[in-house]
């Protein structure tokens, strides 16, 4: 591509306008901009590499030990090394699963309402409320659940309460992503279905949703990844314990973030510090796994054209 065509050149004569370079200062500015963009990218990559390096170098070897994946911290004091994170991994996964189980149907149906049904004031209100929910800081969501669950009903702080707070954070993410995906389904397909005499609800359930399926799943996985790393609700609603606990409705339930938080208070103990980084790495890996799964679904699950 030529970069200079001398538009409006007044140079007379039969000589062809030279296809030379733009003026020096313009070239320099262009080069400076290029360098700045590369620098910006490098600046963004530095913390990423640094963080990952820190976590892996401090906690990586713990994950190589099989007991990390099989044992809990039961009976292991902060001074002692050993034990595993299985109790916390389990807690994190259980809470995430319950969160998804509650949030996904509500969110997907809300998105269906907004895209397929919603018109008028009520739809505007719903969309607006989803926006508000998007903006709610996790600590505020946690406070709300605390105000309901503990202050008002007088229940204990249990795993289920954490899930409820996470539901509030997950709903808007899934609503928005599902909405986008539903909007991408061509109207022609809905019309084709209607023209076959298929009722609207079956059109949505059997034609629209399957077409958008992989995109919706991707949104759910990314939303779940986001929610899994949340710590604020755990601090307020989900105290840590060192043993395996799978009951969502009674007793404390340990999770990876609270495990990190626990060991953080023992920075003087090398064993605890190692455990802390190990738990952090485990959490990153879990979230990364969900992210990758989401992207794979998006890439390979989408309908071939």
């Amino acid at each position: 591509m030529t970069t200079d065509t001398r538009v409006g050149s007044t140079s007379p004569g039969p000589v062809l306008p030279a296809l030379g370079n733009p003026s020096r200062s313009r070239t320099i500015r262009d080069q400076v901009a290029r360098v700045v963009m590369w620098l910006a990218f490098l600046v963004a990559v530095v913390p990423l590499v640094w963080i990952l390096w820190t976590v892996v170098s401090h906690g990586g070897h713990l994950l190589m030990e099989s007991q990390w994946w099989t044992n809990s911290q039961r009976g292991i004091t902060s001074r002692r090394a050993g034990g595993g994170a299985v109790h916390a991994i389990q807690g994190t996964l259980i809470q995430a699963a319950v969160t998804a189980l509650i949030a996904v149907p509500i969110a997907v149906m809300t998105a269906i309402y907004l895209v397929e049904y919603g018109r008028g004031k009520f739809a505007k209100a719903v969309s607006f409320m989803v926006d508000i929910l998007t903006g709610i800081p996790s600590i505020v969501a946690a406070l709300f659940i605390y105000a309901v669950w503990v202050t008002t009903f007088g229940f204990q702080r249990v795993g289920f309460a954490v899930s409820l707070a996470l539901v509030l954070l997950m709903i808007p993410v899934v609503v928005r992503s599902t909405e986008e995906m539903l909007k991408l389904v061509p109207n022609e397909l809905r019309e084709a279905s209607y023209a076959l005499g298929v009722p609207k609800w079956k059109t949505i359930a059997k034609v629209v949703l399957p077409t958008a399926f992989s995109g919706i799943v991707t949104g759910i996985l990314l939303g779940l990844a986001r929610v899994m790393g949340e710590t604020a609700p755990l601090l307020i609603l989900g105290p840590y314990t060192k043993s395996i606990a799978t009951n969502l409705f009674s007793g404390y339930m340990p999770t990876l973030p609270t495990m990190i938080n626990q060991d953080r208070t023992e920075l003087g103990q090398p064993a605890a510090v190692e455990r802390m980084w190990g738990a952090a790495l485990t959490l990153i890996l879990l979230i990364l796994l969900l992210n990758i799964a989401g992207r794979l679904v998006a890439r390979f699950g989408s309908v071939k054209k």
């Binding site: 538009v7 620098l39 910006a40 149906m109 895209v115 989803v130 903006g135 209607y194 710590t231």
Partner: protein
């Protein structure tokens, strides 16, 4: 993924036969399946409305008695003693720390984020642009608790010399006044927050930059513009509303970020003198609440923290609302 901007190809001009989905119409009928399914969908929407309303009402309901007993001015006092018969608490310090650290984060994250987005969409060689985008997205996959750990235990030491330098050279300026805080300063919180919201700014900016009509870009290039001139005259103006809304959403995240900040902040002792310095310590709304989760034992104390949470809620809401308005205006503009 464009979940947050809400702007996609699907927002293009609707025509009767394609474009806008077929909602709110007579495609549904009175049959049972339609009534059930439509009812479920509407019900889910209603549930969301009810939830948000409930959150507001509940928080207010819990906060008001505590505020009524408050013997200090909630909005202007720097005190924070929520227990006992004479609670005195105010948010001015929390507000300052929260806003100042978030603004620092924006000042750093927006230029870098836009730069990265331009790099990915306009400068990176083809083979690099996808991996580069994934790499930056990876920053978003790091949970905030890990940022907190890394910030306190590793990154802090690297920023200290910078802070010392600024304090010694620019100490005469109130914002950079010397404080003697060695732990997490407002400045430092800002830097960590900047790294945390960088992927948000980048992802959304990247998306709008990529949507710049080819005709605009080719138009500029055909006039003999250099690549930078092309970006300045066509990509940046087209993407500006997108960048603004991305920044607002990032700001909302920064304001509400809890755990990383909680790990980093240096709590100030009561009665310390007021300082405008960015090298002072202090707590944000979120960290104050999180740090004192153990204190939620009486309605009075809980109510005070909830009141602080409400202010944070309003703050993030305003910021998000501005983002939304900018997006809507852009949509109206492109349609």
């Amino acid at each position: 993924m464009s979940t947050i901007t809400g702007v996609t190809a699907a927002d293009e001009t609707p025509t009767p036969t394609s474009g806008s989905p077929l909602g709110g119409d007579a495609a549904g009928t009175g049959r049972l399946g339609d009534r059930l399914f439509g009812g479920l969908a509407t019900g889910a929407g209603g549930l969301v409305v009810a939830l948000v309303t409930l959150i507001g009402v509940f928080l207010l309901w819990q906060a008001i008695p505590a505020l009524a007993h408050n013997e200090a001015s909630f909005l202007t006092s720097r005190e924070w003693s929520v227990g006992g018969d004479h609670p005195r608490f105010g948010i001015v310090e929390l507000l300052w720390t929260t806003v100042a650290s978030s603004l620092i984060a924006m000042a750093l994250a927006v230029p870098v984020g836009v730069g990265v987005a331009l790099f990915i969409t306009q400068y990176a060689p083809r083979w690099l642009s996808r991996p580069a985008a994934s790499l930056v997205d990876l920053l978003a996959a790091v949970p905030s608790i890990v940022y907190g750990l890394w910030g306190v235990l590793t990154f802090r030491a690297a920023v200290r010399p910078v802070e010392d330098f600024l304090q010694s050279k620019l100490g005469w300026f109130p914002l950079f006044a010397k404080t003697g805080i060695s732990g997490g300063t407002i400045f430092f919180i800002g830097i960590v927050l900047a790294i945390m919201v960088l992927p948000i700014v980048t992802a959304l900016s990247r998306e709008v930059f990529a949507q710049t009509p080819v005709a605009h870009k080719e138009g500029a290039l055909a006039l003999g513009a250099t690549r930078w001139e092309m970006i300045r005259t066509s990509v940046l103006p087209f993407g500006r509303p997108g960048v603004i809304s991305a920044s607002m959403l990032a700001l909302g995240r920064a304001l509400g970020e809890t755990i990383a900040v909680t790990f980093i902040v240096s709590t100030l002792s009561p009665g310390n003198p007021w300082s405008w310095s960015l090298f002072n310590g202090g707590e944000t709304f979120a960290s104050r609440i999180a740090n004192n989760a153990a204190e939620f034992d009486s309605p009075q104390k809980t109510g005070a923290f909830i009141a602080a949470g409400l202010v944070l809620f309003v703050l993030t809401f305003v910021v998000n609302a501005i983002a939304r308005i900018v997006i809507e205006r852009r949509k109206a503009f492109t349609e």
